[in-house]
């Protein structure tokens, strides 16, 4: 890049000062890039702009590169993969990167960490920001050597001059803070070399099995999760939960609690539906919060059968009434007439919880001039906005410090614990910690909605799908974390694409129609790993298996026959998974194998083979083995991608066999792991994972991409073993062998 660099003063951006830039260093900024307008208390939806990345990568005195990673870490490892992109552009080693989870005053706002977009959406901007910094440093090297930048060659962690002199980044970064401003000219961008794009087949950092820089801290118990945050003089808070969704505080009397030793205050705010206690003794909290006398105004009673009655696909079919048509083509009746084997079936999935291992927590310190929050959230800028609203403060007063999350899975876009801590801290005048217990985590979060599907499909005499009529109902997901007033409006004008994710089958369907309704019930709903992708794929890929069985065809062959010619990547993973599993071999009695596949968000192709064994004596369905082939394009870190796929497979096993929340009297009945079980080590299948990586394919979604096909593969394997279909999740031995 031949654009001259211009030094600017340090007062351009408040976040620079706050981000430690008064200490020293070099950063690159464009001359535009004013802070973007921010809607009040809405999740952060905006995709990253390349210019945003200029604030993410900085060179520190000594040559260390600080990376303010714009993806929150919850175990998916995006900060590691993106660090590899930074290293590729800057020709540095892992130990030269200081990867930091930025506080909200250290970078401009960035999009919430959702949708498996960490690499897909951020690979390019991070590469851009790091490449821009490298060229700015090259400009400094050229200036120092009195040479044209073109003569300054790349070296290890720095540059090499024509005479062989080595200038490391450490030699170039002044101890005084410097901001290099580059104009955002498209010509300069065109000339900018992007090693993350150029060095295909010869990457130095990308594609390597780098280990996460926090591994040692994690295995020695030193990682600070939000539950582990401690401030000097911190008090402890807990909020009294409403007994049901939508229960309103009628009256509260805190005298008994206030009389308890160690209790500082009881905070009652009827308008906010808030009753909480603050104590300087963490060990009396649980007793104190229960000692508050509270009367609630209960909403209309809400029970499981009412929810299931609302989300019943056949009811809407009877009325021929669906809100949204996802796709339609051809003539269903004409297609149906071509069917030599016709199948109709209903598939249902359950209300589910995230059940991440760390129940959320937040520490808040509300002062006159500043509000600080320490939490783990997938959207720290949303937390910032919500906290500002909750305690009526200016957005700029609020700073959110982000911690590694003990699991996220879509459930941590909000952090209500932080808002509760802020309200209590504002009242107490001291820092306050709020930690949710497991019961609160189950009752006070949002959930994966019920999905209810009906599919009418068939196969022609030559094994092609004759028609595909697919209707389903569920609840809106994307609008879940929004304020209710806004969400209700959005629901009316917009089909929820999160609910519909993965509902379009990848097969060639001349005569087809897919319709759905997203209907809100009183149960709080929000993103859960892969959103609609897993329940929708379960229905689609179960039906495909039913069609193969009806037509007497091998399910792999039927899929390959019906895929359109352009679906080469999906076909390739299907074939790869089948080969991995040695598909077609006979299995013993009471064993079975099933296959399913899918394309996540139109990006990532995955195919899964499941093998099950039916243990009649123990009356159990056991998943013995799984094989998965995935094509997620360029693999930035194979170790991390394999870990994510294994995580998806195990998540899918839990979804298929175990997860179901039920509601009685407006409350979740399963409030701990005794009644909401997740897969155990003993139940985890053997796993084999293969990555299919076509040349020149950019990196795409990984974090939840293999989940879609898992449940269908298991259900199809159960059919293979038993001749019985599991069409309702979670499935069980009893359910499969009941006549219902």
């Amino acid at each position: 890049m031949s654009v001259a660099v211009e030094r600017k003063g340090m007062n351009r951006r408040a976040f620079l000062i706050k981000s430690g830039w008064l200490a020293a260093g070099v950063t690159v900024l464009t001359s535009c890039g004013a802070a973007r307008s921010v809607l009040p208390a809405m999740p952060s939806f905006s995709s990253p702009e390349p210019e945003d990345a200029l604030a993410w990568v900085q060179a520190l005195p000594g040559g260390q590169i600080r990376f303010f990673c714009p993806r929150m870490e919850m175990g998916q490892g995006a900060p590691l993969g993106l660090s590899q992109v930074v290293a590729e552009e800057l020709n540095i080693r892992q130990q030269e990167i200081d990867c930091v989870s930025p506080a909200t005053d250290q970078t401009p706002p960035f999009k919430m960490t959702v949708g498996s977009e960490g690499i897909f959406d951020f690979f390019m901007p991070v590469s851009y920001g790091a490449a821009r910094l490298r060229e700015a440093l090259r400009g400094l090297a050229a200036e120092k050597a009195g040479l044209a930048p073109e003569l300054v060659q790349d070296g290890e962690s720095g540059f090499v001059l024509p005479d062989g002199t080595v200038l490391s980044y450490g030699d170039l970064v002044p101890s005084e803070p410097v901001v290099l401003s580059v104009s955002a000219s498209s010509r300069a961008d065109e000339a900018l070399r992007r090693y993350a794009l150029e060095r295909k087949g010869a990457y130095r950092a990308i594609g390597q099995r780098w280990k996460h820089h926090e591994l040692e801290a994690m295995v020695t118990g030193k990682t600070v999760y939000s539950r582990d945050v401690t401030l000097a003089g911190m008090l402890y808070g807990q909020v009294r939960r409403p007994p049901a969704f939508g229960a309103r505080l009628q009256s509260a009397n805190g005298r008994a609690a206030e009389a308890m030793a160690g209790v500082n205050a009881v905070v009652i705010d009827k308008g906010r539906n808030f009753v909480g206690v603050v104590s300087d003794n963490p060990f009396v909290l649980a007793t104190a919060v229960q000692a508050i006398e509270v009367e609630w105004e209960m909403p209309e009673e809400l029970n499981q059968d009412q929810i299931e009655a609302v989300l019943d696909v056949e009811k809407y079919r009877a009325q021929n009434d669906f809100e949204h048509e996802l796709t339609a083509a051809g003539d269903i009746e004409a297609g149906r007439a071509q069917a030599v084997h016709r199948n109709t079936a209903r598939y249902d999935t359950s209300l589910a919880a995230h059940a991440q291992m760390e129940p959320r927590a937040g520490v808040a310190w509300v002062r006159k001039d500043k509000v600080e929050i320490w939490c783990g959230s997938q959207d720290p800028f949303f937390v910032q906005r919500r906290v500002a609203k909750a305690i009526n403060r200016n957005l700029d007063d609020v700073v959110v410090h982000s911690h590694r999350m003990g699991g996220g899975f879509g459930g941590r876009v909000l952090c209500l614990a932080s808002e509760e801590a802020a309200v209590l801290s504002a009242a107490a005048g001291k820092p306050v910690r709020v930690q949710w217990d497991r019961e609160t985590e189950f009752q006070s979060s949002y959930f994966q909605p019920i999905f209810s599907h009906f599919i009418d499909a068939g196969v022609t005499s030559d094994g092609r799908i004759s028609h595909w009529e697919h209707d389903f109902v569920s609840s809106p997901i994307m609008t879940g974390p929004m304020p209710k007033s806004i969400a209700m409006v959005v629901d009316r004008v917009m089909a929820d694409e999160g609910t519909a994710r993965g509902a379009l089958s990848p097969y060639q369907l001349p005569d087809h129609r897919v319709r759905y309704s997203d209907i809100r019930t009183a149960v709080p709903i929000g993103p859960w790993r892969a959103l609609g992708a897993a329940p929708n794929n379960f229905a689609v890929e179960s039906m495909i298996d039913e069609l193969a069985v009806a037509a007497g065809m091998d399910p792999v062959k039927l899929r390959l026959l019906n895929l359109p010619p352009e679906a080469v990547r999906l076909a390739a993973v299907l074939e790869r998974a089948a080969a991995l599993a040695d598909w077609g071999q006979t299995v013993p009695e009471d064993w079975g194998r099933g296959i399913a596949c899918g394309v996540y968000k139109g990006q990532t192709a995955a195919a899964v083979v499941a093998e099950v064994r039916v243990d009649h004596k123990a009356r159990q369905l056991l998943i013995t083995s799984m094989w998965c082939a995935q094509d997620c394009g360029l693999v930035v870190n194979p170790d991390q991608v394999e870990a994510q796929i294994m995580g998806n497979l195990i998540w899918g096993c839990t979804m298929a066999l175990k997860e179901r929340l039920t509601v009685a009297a407006g409350a979740v009945q399963e409030r701990n792991f005794d009644r909401y079980e997740i897969l155990t080590h003993r139940e985890a299948p053997e796993m084999t994972v293969a990555l299919v990586e076509p040349p020149d394919a950019p990196p795409v979604a990984v974090g939840e991409s293999a989940l879609g096909p898992v449940a269908a593969a298991i259900a199809n394997a159960v059919f293979d073993a038993t001749g019985r279909r599991a069409r309702r999740l979670p499935m069980s031995y009893e359910g499969v062998f009941s006549d219902g």
Binding site: R209, V219, E358, P359, R438
Partner: protein, 160 residues
């Protein structure tokens, strides 16, 4: 009353005798490596060693461990600040086990106790012994491999 935590004697104020050991470790002693997951002894995130035996610190009171030796994940590799990692911790790193990492301290404490009693466990024994420690990220396959690796003295035992 005194209990020994990671080799150091800790005097317990009398008013805290009945406090849950997990809460005591985290909020009195300040050892945050032992995690709260469920509070009913089902998830294993709070696993510590009491006189060398893996136990759920959310199901014990401080008084329950009076006079006994409690080891937490922080104390596993010895007291010195620059001490090397315990071989099981090293195996966990070698196999890149953790995803979110929250349950892993408890997993490691259970695995260490398992290998102490049974230095060369079978696959079935590992599965049985580790099934009280839940992981939502789905790291079981790598946990399994890390335990086998540690049992084999740190050798890579990857299957192909």
């Amino acid at each position: 009353m005194e209990i020994a935590i990671n080799g150091k004697a800790v005097a317990v104020p009398e008013r805290l005798n009945d406090v849950v050991l997990l809460d005591f470790l985290r909020d009195f002693v300040g050892l945050k490596g032992t995690k709260f997951g469920c509070g009913i002894g089902l998830c294993g995130a709070c696993t510590v060693h009491v006189d060398g035996i893996a136990d759920r610190s959310c199901q014990l009171s401080v008084a329950d461990v009076a006079g006994q030796e409690v080891t937490t994940i922080e104390g596993l590799s010895g007291a010195a600040p620059d001490s090397v990692l315990h071989p099981v911790q090293q195996a966990w790193i070698d196999e890149s086990v953790p995803q979110c990492g929250y349950c892993q301290g408890g997993q490691i404490m259970t695995a260490v106790a398992l290998l102490r009693d049974n230095p060369d466990p079978t696959e079935e024994e590992i599965r049985d012994e580790m099934s009280g420690n839940l992981c939502r990220c789905g790291t079981y396959p790598r946990i399994h491999r890390a335990i086998v690796r540690a049992a084999k003295g740190g050798q890579d035992v990857s299957r192909g």
